[in-house]
C-alpha cells in the first residue's frame, strides 16, 4: 500500500521571522518569498506584506538577470498588489521594453518622470537616455507620448536626423543641418555625438574614436557607438571581432565602410565553416574574389595538419605531396595531437630528418639539415636539458651551417652548464673564428683569458672589443679588477714596482667619465708605502673626487687597505681617518656616494664594522633629504651589510615619511629585518603575517628583488615550524618606541666613545678630560631631533660623563708614553698626511 506523504511540519513564527531576515540579507529571494508567504498565512495581521513584496521584487530582479522578463513582470505585479512599488520601478520599465511593450514602458516612464527627477537625480539622466533609445525603436513608440509632452520636439528632431542619415544616395554632409537642431540639453545629445562621429569616421578615425570613447560602456547608446568602433577597426580585426557585435551594428558598419555585401557574407560564412568546408571552398576557388595562390596553399596545408583526411582534396588542387613533405605533415600533425606524447613528436621529426638526409640533391639541403638538427636539439632540451643528444644535434647543426650564431650560443650555454671549461674554450674559439667582430663572443673570450691568467691575450681581445664597442663597461670592469688583483698580489710579495705597473695598467682601462676612485686610491696607498707622500696625496685627492667625496674615498681606502694586506698600524691610521671623516656633518651627496662605494665591498668582513663606525655620520643628516628611491637604496646596502642599528633608524623613518606612497612597504620590511637582526626564522606570528602581506604588495608592484628576499625569509620560517611556539610576545607601540629609544641611546654612546678615543689618539696623552668633554658635547649641537630626544631622556651631560668614565683610565692604568721616534718608520703611517676631510 502506498504510504501517504506526511504533512509538512509547521514552523514556528519566530523561526520564520528569523529565517526571513536571513534570506533577505543573503539575497536568497526564492526562499524569502516562500518563507514570507508562509508567515503571512500563519500571521495575517503581523505586517509581513512589505517584506514579501521586497522578496518578490528581489526575485523579479534575479529572473530579469536571466532574461526571464515575462516571469519577472508577474512577480512585480505581485509585489505591487502588496502595495510595495507603485509602478515606478526601472525593472518594470526594462521588463516591459524587453517584452516588446514599448508604449506601456514609455507611458510608465512619463507617469513617473517628475517623481524620478526629484527622488533620483543621479539616475535620472540614465532613465532619460534609455527612454530616448526606446522612442527610436519603432515608429509606433511615439504613440505613448502626449501631444503636449516636452519629449515631442526632441523626438521629432532626432527622427529627422535619422531619416537624413538613411536617405539613399544622399551626401552624408546633408546630415549636418538636422544634427545642429539637436540641442545640448536634448535627451538625444548622445545620438548627435555618435552621428557626428559617423560623418568623420572614414576620414578622421582617431577623432571619431576619441568622441565615442566618452560614452560609458553601460550607456543605452553603446550599441550605436559600437558602429563607430567597427568602422575604425582594421579589416582583419573587423573579421576577427565581428562576433562581439550585434548583427545590426555590424550591418551598418559594413555598409558604411562600403564593403560589398556578397563579399562580406562569403567571408563570414567561411569563418564560421568547419575545416573541410573551408578546404573545399579554397580548393574550388569558390570565392567572389581572388586570393594569391601561395597564401591559399599555405592555409590549405595548415588545414591539412588539423585534419589529415583532407589530404586527397589538397592533393587534387596542389598535386601530390612528395615523401619528405608527407613526413613533415605527419610530424606537424603529431605535434598537434594532444594524445601523442613528446616522445612520439620527437620520433616523427627524427623520421623526417632521416628522409631529409636521403635527399642531398635538394637545393637548400644543408640549410634544411642544419635547422632540423637545431629544431631537434630544441625539442630535446624542452624535455631534458641534460640529454646528451641535444649536444650531438647542435654539433651536427654546425657541421651543416657553421655560421649559425644561435647554435654557437647554445653550445656555449651547454658547456657552461656542464662546467666543462675546456670544451667551453674550444667552442668559443670556433665561434670567434666565424664571428671575429661579435661583442658577446669577444667578451666571453676576455673572461676566459682572464680566468686562465693569459693577460696578454685578454688585453688583445679586450682592445678589439672596445674598438667595436667603446662603451662596454663590463669588460673594462673585468680588466680593472684583474689588474687590481695582480697589483695586490705583487704588494703582498713585496714587489711594489710591479704593483705600480699593474695599477698603471688598470688606470689605462678606465674611461675618464666612469672612474670611481678605486685605482687612484690604490695608487695613493702604494705611493705612501714607497714613501712618495706628495704623490700619494695627489692620487688621494684625485681618488676622493672620483669616489664622490671624502667619506666615500675614506671607506674605499680602508677597504682597499685591507685587500692590499697593509700592516695593522696602517689599519689603525686608516680607522682614525675614517672616524675623523665620520665626525663631519653629512650631506645627502656624501651618503649616496658612500652607499655606492660600499656596494663594492658587500660580503667582506670588515665592511660591517666600518659602516657601523660611521654611526654619527649616518645619524647626522635628516633622512627627509632623500627621495624614496635613495632612502631605499641606503636601506638595501645596510641590510646587505647587516648594519642593523643604522638600518632600523633609516627604515623606521622611511616608513613614517613614505607611508602614503606605494613603495612604503619596503621600509616596513627593512624595519622588521633590522628588528630581528636579519632574516631569522623565529618571527612573531603578527610580523610573519605582515611579511606575507608585504610579499603580496611587492608582487603587485612587480618588485622582484624584494619578493625574492621576502620569500627567502618566509621559506626559512616555514622550514622551522616549531619556532612558532617560541615567538616573542607581541609588544605595544609604546614598548616599541621605548626599545627604539634605548637602541638609539646605545648607538649614541658607542659613537661618543669612538669620538672620545679618536680625540685622545689625535691629541696624544696630553689631552685633558675637560677638553674631550667639550668635543663630545659639540656632538649634540645641531643634531637631528631623534638624538636630542634621546639625549633629553638621559641628559647629554650624563651621557658624556658616562663615556668619559669609560675611556679615561686612572693614572695607574695609563700606559707609558711612547717615544715619537719609535712611532716612525715605513710601517708607521703617522708621518703621512691622510687628509680625507672635505675641503
Amino acid at each position: 500500500m502506498k504510504k501517504r506523504p506526511s504533512a509538512p511540519a509547521v514552523i514556528s513564527i519566530p523561526t520564520l521571522v528569523e529565517r526571513g531576515q536571513r534570506f533577505l540579507a543573503a539575497g536568497q529571494w526564492r526562499e524569502a518569498v516562500e518563507n514570507y508567504k508562509q508567515l503571512l498565512k500563519q500571521d495575517p495581521t503581523g505586517g509581513w506584506a512589505p517584506l514579501l513584496a521586497q522578496a518578490y521584487a528581489g526575485r523579479a530582479d534575479e529572473l530579469a538577470g536571466k532574461a526571464m522578463f515575462k516571469e519577472a513582470l508577474i512577480l512585480l505585479d505581485n509585489a505591487d498588489r502588496l502595495g510595495a512599488t507603485p509602478g515606478g520601478n526601472p525593472l518594470r520599465l526594462t521588463c516591459l521594453a524587453a517584452t516588446g511593450r514599448i508604449p506601456q514602458a514609455i507611458s510608465l516612464y512619463l507617469q513617473t518622470e517628475s517623481l524620478l527627477k526629484t527622488a533620483h537625480p543621479d539616475q535620472f539622466p540614465l532613465w532619460q537616455e534609455y527612454v530616448a533609445v526606446l522612442l527610436l525603436t519603432d515608429a509606433g513608440a511615439t504613440v505613448a507620448v502626449p501631444a503636449d509632452s516636452s519629449w515631442q520636439e526632441p523626438v521629432r528632431v532626432a527622427r529627422q536626423a535619422l531619416a537624413a542619415l538613411c536617405q539613399p544616395g544622399a551626401d552624408p554632409s546633408s546630415l549636418a543641418d538636422p544634427l545642429r537642431q539637436i540641442t545640448v540639453r536634448s535627451p538625444f545629445k548622445t545620438l548627435r555625438l555618435i552621428l557626428k562621429a559617423l560623418l568623420v569616421v572614414r576620414t578622421e578615425p582617431d577623432k571619431a574614436r576619441e568622441w565615442v570613447a566618452t560614452i560609458p560602456e553601460n550607456s543605452p547608446w553603446s550599441g550605436l557607438a559600437g558602429v563607430i568602433t567597427l568602422c575604425t577597426l582594421e579589416m582583419t580585426e573587423l573579421l576577427r571581432r565581428s562576433a562581439e557585435f550585434s548583427p545590426p551594428a555590424l550591418a551598418i558598419a559594413v555598409s558604411w565602410r562600403g564593403i560589398a555585401p556578397a563579399q562580406w557574407q562569403a567571408a563570414r560564412a567561411l569563418l564560421a565553416a568547419p575545416p573541410a568546408r573551408v578546404m573545399a571552398t579554397l580548393v574550388a576557388r569558390d570565392l567572389p574574389w581572388a586570393i594569391p595562390e601561395a597564401a591559399v596553399r599555405r592555409t590549405a596545408f595548415l588545414l591539412l595538419v588539423e585534419d589529415l583526411s583532407l589530404r586527397p582534396v589538397f592533393e587534387r588542387r596542389f598535386g601530390p605531396l612528395d615523401q619528405l613533405e608527407g613526413k613533415r605533415l605527419l610530424a606537424l600533425a603529431t605535434g598537434r595531437d594532444p594524445h601523442r606524447g613528446e616522445g612520439a613528436h620527437l620520433r616523427s621529426w627524427q623520421v623526417y630528418l632521416n628522409a631529409l638526409k636521403a635527399t642531398p640533391e635538394m637545393p637548400d639541403h644543408a640549410q634544411r639539415m642544419a635547422v632540423t638538427h637545431r629544431f631537434l636539439a630544441m625539442l630535446i632540451g624542452l624535455e631534458d636539458r641534460e640529454d646528451t643528444r641535444l649536444l650531438a644535434h647542435l654539433e651536427q647543426s654546425l657541421t651543416y651551417d657553421p655560421g649559425d650564431r644561435i647554435v654557437h650560443h647554445s653550445l656555449l650555454a651547454w658547456h657552461k652548464h656542464e662546467e666543462d671549461d675546456q670544451a667551453y674554450g674550444r667552442v668559443l674559439e670556433r665561434a670567434l673564428q666565424h664571428f671575429p667582430e661579435d661583442a658577446e663572443f669577444l667578451y666571453a673570450a676576455v673572461r676566459v683569458a682572464l680566468q686562465n691568467k693569459t693577460f696578454k691575450k685578454a688585453f688583445r681581445l679586450a682592445k678589439r672589443l672596445l674598438t667595436l664597442d667603446p662603451l662596454h663597461a663590463e669588460v673594462r670592469r673585468e680588466l680593472i679588477g684583474a689588474c687590481l688583483a695582480q697589483a695586490r698580489k705583487q704588494v703582498k710579495s713585496g714587489r711594489l714596482d710591479l704593483a705600480g705597473k699593474e695599477l698603471a695598467e688598470a688606470a689605462a682601462w678606465e674611461r675618464p667619465d666612469e672612474r670611481d676612485g678605486v685605482v687612484r686610491i690604490n695608487q695613493a696607498l702604494l705611493a705612501w708605502l714607497t714613501q712618495q707622500t706628495a704623490e700619494g696625496d695627489a692620487w688621494l685627492e684625485e681618488g676622493k673626487q672620483q669616489a664622490g667625496g671624502g667619506i666615500a674615498a675614506c671607506l674605499r681606502a680602508a677597504m682597499e687597505g685591507v685587500r692590499l694586506g697593509l700592516p695593522e698600524s696602517w689599519q689603525t691610521c686608516l680607522t682614525e681617518a675614517l672616524l675623523r671623516s665620520a665626525k663631519q656633518t653629512a650631506t645627502r651627496e656624501a651618503i649616496l656616494a658612500l652607499v655606492q662605494v660600499a656596494h663594492d665591498y658587500v660580503g667582506e668582513t670588515r665592511l660591517r664594522q666600518w659602516l657601523a663606525d660611521f654611526a654619527p655620520f649616518w645619524l647626522s643628516l635628516n633622512v627627509s633629504a632623500f627621495s624614496l628611491a635613495e632612502q631605499r637604496a641606503i636601506c638595501h646596502l645596510l641590510a646587505r651589510a647587516s648594519v642593523y642599528g643604522v638600518l632600523k633608524y633609516y627604515a623606521t623613518r622611511g616608513e613614517k615619511q613614505w607611508r602614503d606612497q606605494p613603495g612604503h612597504y619596503a621600509f616596513v620590511y627593512y624595519r622588521l629585518l633590522a628588528q630581528y637582526q636579519g632574516p631569522r626564522p623565529d618571527v612573531a606570528l603578527r610580523d610573519w603575517k605582515r611579511l606575507q602581506e608585504l610579499r603580496q604588495q611587492a608582487e603587485k608592484q612587480q618588485d622582484h628583488d624584494l619578493v625574492a628576499e621576502l620569500e627567502d625569509w618566509l621559506d626559512a620560517d616555514a622550514d622551522d615550524d616549531d619556532d612558532i611556539d617560541l615567538m616573542p610576545p607581541s609588544r605595544n607601540r609604546a614598548a616599541l618606541d621605548r626599545e627604539e629609544l634605548e637602541e638609539l641611546e646605545q648607538m649614541i654612546l658607542a659613537s661618543l666613545t669612538m669620538l672620545a678615543r679618536n680625540c685622545m689618539r689625535s691629541r696624544g696623552q696630553r689631552v685633558s678630560r675637560s677638553e674631550v668633554r667639550d668635543v663630545l658635547l659639540d656632538f649634540f649641537v645641531g643634531a637631528p631631533s631623534e638624538i636630542i630626544k634621546v639625549a633629553r631622556i638621559g641628559h647629554p651631560v650624563n651621557l658624556v660623563d658616562k663615556v668619559l668614565d669609560s675611556v679615561f683610565p686612572s693614572a695607574a692604568q695609563r700606559p707609558p708614553e711612547q717615544s715619537p721616534a719609535k712611532r716612525r718608520g715605513r710601517d708607521n703611517p703617522q708621518q703621512l698626511t691622510l687628509d680625507f676631510d672635505e675641503p
Binding site: 526601472p90 535619422l162 552624408p172 543605452p220 582594421e234 548583427p247 567571408a267 586570393i291
Partner: protein
C-alpha cells in the same frame, strides 16, 4: 603564435629586404600608440622571420592555426559609404534595449 608570414603579408619565399619592408609598412599602418597589442604582435612576427634561417625553421616546423581573417582581409575592398536603412537602425536600437542592464541593481521609486 599567429602565422608571422600572414601577419606581415609576405610570401614564405620572401628575402630579408622584403620582410623588413613589409614590417616597416605594417608598423607605419599600425604604430604602437594606436594599437600596442597589434604592434607587439607585428614586432614578434618580424623578429621570428627576419633571418633566413628562422624563416626556414618557421616554414618547416611551425604550424599555427589557419588564420582565415588575415587571409581574407586583403580581398575585402572598401568603397563609398552606403547609408543604413531605417529598419536596420531600429533593429539596432531594439537590440540595445534588450542588452541594456541597469548599472546598480534595480532602484525603486
Amino acid at each position: 603564435m599567429n602565422d608571422p608570414f600572414a601577419l606581415l603579408g609576405v610570401d614564405e619565399a620572401a628575402d630579408d629586404e622584403t620582410v623588413r619592408a613589409a614590417y616597416l609598412q605594417q608598423v607605419r599602418a599600425c604604430p604602437p600608440d594606436r594599437d600596442p597589442e597589434r604592434f607587439q604582435a607585428i614586432r614578434r612576427a618580424y623578429e621570428g622571420i627576419a633571418d633566413a634561417r628562422d624563416r626556414l625553421a618557421v616554414r618547416l616546423f611551425h604550424a599555427p592555426d589557419p588564420d582565415l581573417p588575415t587571409l581574407l582581409a586583403p580581398s575585402l575592398q572598401e568603397g563609398p559609404p552606403v547609408p543604413p536603412t531605417m529598419q536596420t537602425l531600429q533593429a539596432l536600437f531594439s537590440a540595445s534595449v534588450q542588452a541594456f542592464r541597469w548599472p546598480t541593481g534595480q532602484g525603486k521609486v
